[in-house]
């Protein structure tokens, strides 16, 4: 014994020694000592010795760890008396000895595990006794014992709270789950009551508290918090979903407090609510304690479930809470660390039904909303302050977002409309105010004004999207107020900007003028963001429609005679003329008034460019302008087939439809703005992106009588694009201009017109390629940069064409581009040394597979497949057997191969989704999987293990295999042997080398194949023999914990499917596993475990049998891991 202790102490000394003192062999040897120690059987008395005798903390910890491991493994062998005495010993040990915290924690955890395991057999009787003891200890013991008692309760809660994450305790999931249910219905409430008792002692004394009192209170609060955040999970849910729930609860927000009826006497007792608030008051100055106390309050604000199913109870509880809460927030200044929890409470009170909220006393409701809007405004101020000071943590910022979102609700304005108007007005005003510069606003200069801002950071539009949307909604409650305020802000600021630019034309700016210019940009930027969110609701994937509040506001104004169609049309006409204020501007509809003012901004930008002042304009503001115009157009220019409740405003609905001239005018202006941006602001990537977005969206707009294609602006833009010199537009822009031009064609209905349009667009591209190809000396000059640029332009144009294709234009366009695509593969070889071109070509074909392939006829499909394969073939020919010294070679190969795999993946989608009308007699000549597999044949040799170590390529590769296998397992079976072997080898590597995602994909791949082998009775074929190997492999991997517990059930399905095909092999495997065991007891238990694994399972590969096996396997693994230690 002494020998063991000194051996361990020596080993611990080596492990803890600095790296330069011991060699790695010594370290390994020392680690092995502990690894062997951990595997010792019945180590209880040895460990007790160690705990008593050793002074070495490391060894004490290891001893505790070994006991824990042994308990889990050997629980069912232990006699009940031994268990009890061990538990009592351990508890005595930590009570009497001064051991380090980490040793203490491990022992406490071990005790908790023992309590849980014991409770499974005796229905919790023992646990109740333990709890009773612990409570006595906390009440009567000294400070140390009190704390230990609390720690033990915490550990118990921890052990019982999880069902899936704690499978290493050696119990199958069902047992964990039952234990949890058991615990929560008998002991959870009792623990909470105990906490309440302890807390009531706290509030009876006054601060300052002694340190020991604070420590204890902290623990009690943590326990209360855990109880209130308990995740009650319905027993009927499938295991997968329970797993998901547990993960979400652990990583994000705790679940709402949903309690059963038996909690009524505690939770509905008003004194307990008051107590919890009073606790917070008392310990508010202690940051950590306050945090847990607030977390309890947040949970109390979410009470629901059977306990409050009676309406009267629910209202009484709510009222009590609100009274206490208002009492708190109206009497203190909220600190930054409290703000998020306070905001959360406000937000969560919303989960009480409208009905309940409405039945609160009127005065209470009013003061509640009063207080809430005051809090919202104050958080808004504080959030902006925090931002301006460049603080790292955004407490108030987060709090503001949360509290603001509580206003985004239908019921707010319905029955108290007039009375409640002041809330949205106050919040809207505040939000606008903090974003405007003084004197009108309170915006502070930003702390990091002159700092570099990376473009990959989100801009305001994205970063504050949630807030802006709620403010937009609030503003729509009070349109008469908000729209006129916004119009005024925009108008004054933009006019100021006009003056500014005009002054700049005459003389240089001084410093203060430059600063005020920046202020103007920022003001207009925010005013546009807010206005855009008031007028438009972003509608992803839905038909855009005018917000109903705007529609009825416009209708009302028209009905009241405040606006007229004529005045609105005058305004529209005036936009084109760029003249002074239009006639009767007062009577113009608000939506158009705002557009009129905003377009002035567009004119200022163009004016500045024309006068060589373009570089003074703000690209940020330019982007915001593009976004605003795009949102406006999508919402107000699209023909609306939506039925508006309460009628539609004739101004908004008809004006652009009825008068083609107006719409034409607007289109022309926008397109010319797009063109000018593309020309002058090429160097601003974000502005370019937004400009392109605007362009691609407006060209798709089709009005009754007008079509963008036929506008003068579009004609000019096409001419401009075709006359552009080679390489003038930056990468990507040319592609997107082309995309827009092609998209525009999709609005043409008449087939002849459509053909003529595409002829106009695509003929010049064809001619460019022809000229390029017919150069006599191409083979000599292809290296020259100028020549390369011509080719790059052509490929970019083609890519643009392809991504602009819509279902109705696909076949038409493909006829134009097919011959061009056919010319491309040879350049894969010619330009194989120029990565930019190689990748552009690969991207072009990816785009083809992604955008156009699914619409193509079988004949066209084959053409595209042929080209794609030729591309891949040429690529692999140029790169096979290549050896290079370039530093970036690996990275380059990685990018190329990722594109190749992308190409295959997109191509495969043709086999899943084919939109082509199959009414023709054309036969499907070749399937996409053939293409992908044939292609893989070429690139497999290039995919080295080193490259697969890159996570993105690895994921892509295995996903592709799964996809092919999902559609056509028989194609995998039929592969040439060497390719198939390489593929299966890569699956084996994937199971062990690249992490969970790859394992998941590999398992999915094998599952499909194993099932296929069984169904097609391929067991005796060569392929079957190749697959057989995986039975042993998977068995080994699961038994040796190399497949993580989440994936074991997927693995077990494959094991089952393989057993169905290879029963003899399975028997041999089982026998050899049993024979390998040296300990006869273990061998016997293993044999028994294998027997019960196959108990009542038929080898038919049916779903029901599979599930049965899966469950058995689960229990098998939990059981076997207990006694079998497999290396």
């Amino acid at each position: 014994m002494i020998g063991l202790i000194s051996e361990l102490e020596a080993a611990a000394g080596i492990i803890m020694a600095p790296t330069n003192v011991v060699s790695s062999e010594q370290r390994h040897a020392a680690e092995n000592v502990f690894l062997n120690f951990r595997k010792s059987k019945s180590p209880y008395s040895v460990c007790r010795e160690i705990l008593e005798k050793s002074q070495n903390e490391y060894i004490l910890f290891e001893a505790a760890e070994v006991i824990r491991g042994a308990i889990i493994r050997e629980w069912s062998f232990l006699m009940e008396d031994d268990r009890d005495s061990l538990r009592q010993y351990l508890f005595q040990y930590i009570t009497n000895k001064a051991v380090p915290q980490f040793v203490q924690n491990r022992i406490l955890q071990t005790i908790a595990i023992m309590v849980k395991r014991a409770s499974i057999n005796d229905g919790g009787r023992n646990r109740t006794v333990v709890l009773q003891d612990v409570e006595n200890l906390v009440i009567n013991g000294d400070h140390k014992k009190k704390m230990l008692g609390c720690f033990l309760i915490k550990n118990l809660l921890q052990e019982y709270s999880n069902t899936l994450q704690s499978t290493d305790v050696g119990l199958p999931f069902e047992v964990h789950f039952k234990a949890k249910k058991d615990f929560e219905s008998f002991d959870l409430k009792r623990i909470f009551q105990f906490c309440v008792y302890l807390l009531s002692e706290v509030v009876n004394t006054d601060p300052p508290y002694q340190e020991s009192m604070l420590q204890l209170t902290n623990q009690v609060l943590i326990i209360s918090e855990t109880v209130l955040q308990w995740a009650y999970i319905a027993p009927m849910l499938p295991r997968r979903i329970i797993n998901l729930y547990e993960r979400v609860y652990q990583s994000e927000e705790p679940p709402h407090l949903k309690l059963d009826k038996h909690w009524a006497d505690v939770i509905l007792n008003p004194e307990i609510m008051t107590l919890m608030f009073r606790v917070f008051w008392k310990i508010r100055d202690q940051e950590e304690l306050a945090h847990h106390a607030l977390a309890c309050l947040v949970q109390l604000s979410t009470l629901n479930g059977p306990v409050v199913s009676e309406e009267a109870e629910s209202i009484k509880y709510l009222q009590n809470f609100v009274v206490n809460f208002l009492n708190l927030v109206s009497n203190v200044t909220i600190r930054k660390r409290e703000s998020v929890a306070i905001a959360n409470i406000v937000n969560k009170l919303n989960y009480f039904s409208d009905n309940d909220l409405r039945k609160l006393p009127k005065e209470l409701t009013e003061s509640m909303y009063d207080e809430f809007s005051r809090l919202t405004c104050s958080f808004c101020d504080l959030a902006v302050n925090e931002e301006a000071q460049g603080e790292e943590d955004k407490f108030f910022g987060d709090a503001f977002t949360i509290i603001l979102s509580s206003w985004d609700r239908e019921n707010l304005m319905t029955d108290r409309q007039e009375k409640m108007r002041y809330c949205p007005i106050a919040i809207f005003n505040k939000y606008l105010q903090v974003h405007l510069a003084p004197p009108d606003g309170t915006r502070q200069p930003c702390a990091d004004d002159a700092d570099e801002i990376e473009d990959n950071e989100d801009n305001d539009r994205i970063k504050y999207k949630d807030n802006l949307q709620v403010v937009g909604q609030l503003a729509r409650y009070v349109l008469d107020h908000s729209l006129s305020v916004l119009l005024n802000v925009l108008d004054t600021r933009i006019n100021k900007l006009v003056n500014h630019v005009q002054t700049m034309q005459n003389r240089a700016m001084n410093i203060s003028e430059a600063a005020s210019l920046d202020n103007l940009f920022e003001d207009i930027h925010w005013a546009l963001l807010i206005t855009g969110n008031v007028l438009c609701i972003e509608s992803q994937g839905e038909c855009a429609s005018v917000p109903s509040e705007i529609m009825s506001y416009s209708l009302r104004q028209w009905e009241l005679g405040h606006t007229t169609i004529e005045a609105t049309m005058n305004t529209l006409a005036a936009m084109g003329a760029k003249s002074g204020e239009p006639h009767d501007f007062d009577k113009c509809d608000m939506v158009f008034k705002i557009l009129y003012v905003v377009l002035k901004l567009s004119f200022v930008e163009e004016y500045a460019i024309a006068n060589k002042l373009g570089h003074f304009m703000s690209p940020e503001l330019g982007s915001t302008l593009m976004w605003f115009l795009r949102s406006w157009c999508v919402e107000y220019l699209l023909p609306c087939n939506v039925k508006y409740l309460g009628g539609a405003s004739p101004i908004l609905l008809d004006i652009l439809e009825e008068d083609p001239k107006c719409a034409m005018l607007l289109f022309n202006m926008l397109i010319s703005k797009v063109q000018s941006n593309m020309y002058f602001y090429q160097s601003e990537p974000i502005l370019m992106r937004d400009t392109v977005d605007l362009f691609c969206d407006i060209v798709c707009i089709k009005q009754k009588n007008t079509c963008v294609v036929k506008t003068e602006g579009m004609r000019r833009l096409i001419q401009w694009q075709q006359a552009l010199g080679v390489g003038v537009l930056p990468p990507g822009i040319l592609k997107n201009v082309m995309k827009g031009i092609i998209l525009a064609g999709s609005t043409i209905k008449d087939p002849n017109e459509l053909n003529a349009y595409y002829d106009l667009i695509l003929r010049p591209v064809q001619n460019r390629l022809k000229t390029f190809l017919s150069q006599e000396n191409l083979t000599r000059v292809y290296h020259n940069e100028d020549v390369q640029k011509v080719f790059i332009d052509i490929v970019e144009l083609l890519s643009g064409v392809v991504i602009g294709v819509q279902s109705n234009t696909a076949s038409n366009i493909f006829q134009f581009i097919a011959p061009m695509l056919g010319e491309i593969p040879v350049f894969m070889t010619v330009y194989s040394n120029y990565q930019i071109i190689v990748q552009l070509i690969l991207e072009l074909f990816c785009d083809c597979a992604k955008n156009i392939l699914c619409f193509l006829s079988p004949n066209h499909t084959k053409t595209l497949y042929d080209c794609s394969l030729a591309i891949v073939q040429n690529y692999s020919k140029c790169n096979a057997n290549r050896f290079t010294s370039e530093a970036f070679a690996e990275e380059s190969n990685l990018q190329d191969l990722a594109l190749v795999l992308d190409l295959f993946t997109h191509t495969l989608s043709k086999d899943c989704i084919d939109m082509y009308n199959i009414n023709t007699n054309e036969e499907t000549l070749i399937t996409a999987s053939d293409v992908a597999l044939f292609g893989l044949n070429f690139v497999m040799p290039l995919m080295t293990i080193d490259l697969l170590k890159y996570p993105c390529l690895c994921a892509q590769y295995y996903r592709l295999l799964v996809l092919i296998n999902d559609i056509y397992p028989e194609k995998i079976v039929g592969l040439p042997q060497n390719l198939r072997n390489t593929m299966l080898q890569s699956i084996e590597i994937g199971l062990t080398s690249f992490g969970q995602d790859a394992v998941h994909n590999c398992l999915e791949f094998l599952e499909g194949l194993a099932l296929h082998v069984f169904k097609q009775k391929l067991a005796q074929t060569e392929f079957g023999q190749a697959i057989k190997y995986y039975l042993k492999l998977l068995m080994d991997l699961t038994l040796s914990h190399q497949i993580c517990s989440d994936l074991i059930s997927s693995a077990s399905v494959i094991i089952y499917e393989l057993i169905c095909s290879f029963q003899d092999e399975y028997q041999m495997l089982v026998n050899s596993l049993i024979q390998m065991q040296t300990d006869p007891l273990v061998a016997e238990r293993l044999a028994a475990a294998f027997n019960s694994l196959m108990l009542n399972v038929n080898l038919t590969c049916e779903r029901q049998q599979k599930t049965k096996f899966k469950d058995n396997f689960d229990k098998f693994i939990a059981n076997v891991h207990g006694f079998l230690i497999v290396k």
Binding site: D451, P685, P730, R780, H783, S885, A889
Partner: protein
Amino acid sequence: MADLEDTQFHTGDSGASATYPMQCSALRKNGFVMLKARPCKIVEMSTSKTGKHGHAKVHFVGIDIFSGKKYEDICPSTHNMDVPHVKREDFQLTDISDDNYLSLMSDNGDLREDLKVPEGEVGLQLRTEYDAGKDILCTVLKSCGEEVVIAVKTNTALDK
């Protein structure tokens, strides 16, 4: 358009400058640029700006195409950067002379014997493959007056 292309096609690179200017924003990732007077391949390109309403600047990370060293630079996106003429041409290896010079033949049949066996692993690989009697293609990288064999590949084109 046709005129423009014609004039461009006849410019050869003999006697021309080793670099030409290009607007920053027109450069691409994986393209080439001069960083600290060295020809580099652009491996990373990102944009940033000074202040919220400022103009874009481009940040480059490049790798010297000959030495593999890493360089960085930042430049307003409207400004021009020098771009090296970079030519990467494949030649067939016909012989290695006693003094370590390579005999190389281009696609057009032009012969040259002015390049040495490269140092390092590529050179070793080249020797081994050559001694094994394989057909070898050499990729010659040429830029800014430097010229070197940077890759070898057993020529499968001839097998077909």
